[in-house]
Amino acid sequence: MAMMPKRVKHRKAQRGRIKGNATRGNRVVLGDYGLQSLDGGWLKAQTIEAGRIAAQQYIRGEGRLYIRVFPHRSITSRPLETRMGKGKGEPAHWVATIRRGTILYELGGVTEAQAKICFARLAHKLPLRVRMVKRRTH
């Protein structure tokens, strides 16, 4: 099931702007390898889930997949064939706001070759440019 917050303070949010590089969540901390975004953008909850399924199907319980992003922001949309006005639309889906450099997924307990194949399969599901990175020792 696609991820979504359990409780929110406000149902609808303004769109905002995505500027600059990620200053947090830009290091591999949980696993050995990470998938890092090279673009900023929104990642839908369904897309995060699709990526998770693609990766899980490859690693098949061996190793461990960590999802490092969460869709906190609701995106509203207007019903089809309705006139403008009458207020903001209703929440349609949830997205994670991704800044350049954010680690999206991490993998542990697999070899580098397996991680490379797994992330390549996962990357096909994503609307962002990504690259594989390794854990830093310093």
Binding site: K6, V8, R64, G108
Partner: protein, 207 residues
Amino acid sequence: MNDVLNVTARTDTGTSRMRRLRAAGKVPAVLYGHGQETSVLTLDRKELVAVLNHSGHIVQLQGAVNESALIKEVQFDPVEDRILHVDLFRVDAGEQVEVALEVVLKGTAKGSLSGGVVNQLVHEVVIRCPASAVPERLELKIGELDVNHSLRAGDLTLPEGATLVSSPDQVLVICNMPVVETPEAVGAAATGAEPEVIARKKAEDAE
């Protein structure tokens, strides 16, 4: 033997000057500690990368200052992997220092031969040891690790004179049987529900 880093004193500071410095193959650094005055330095990037590649922690500085130092923090550009800045901490050879060291698994776990999967949960532990004897990394032998068993920080073999600062009960590595999720379990949760709104709940309570 400690690695040697050639350093030059630096008077320039500021974003644009440091950007030019990095473009010339140098790395800005700062040296502090022991209650002495802070020194701003410049390092050679190639020398520094060579030290970091083999996980060196203590370096001997030569040039503008001749002291031993602990590499306290290395700042990287998250996207371009360039080294932006280094923090160096003055240490004496016999001084006790706290260092975060990488834990490397050695051997093949007994459990993995019977189908288990080894998962390293913690990759770094903090130890206190003399500055002259800081190891590059800590090795954890996992040969005896069976399925549904774990190894803790207390199981690490520390170098002579070193003590563990991290909790000895901290689980470093576990071995479990692989769990393949079933499609029914994935699709079982409800879809289309909306999250609870905190402010609305408060307003209802007030009424």
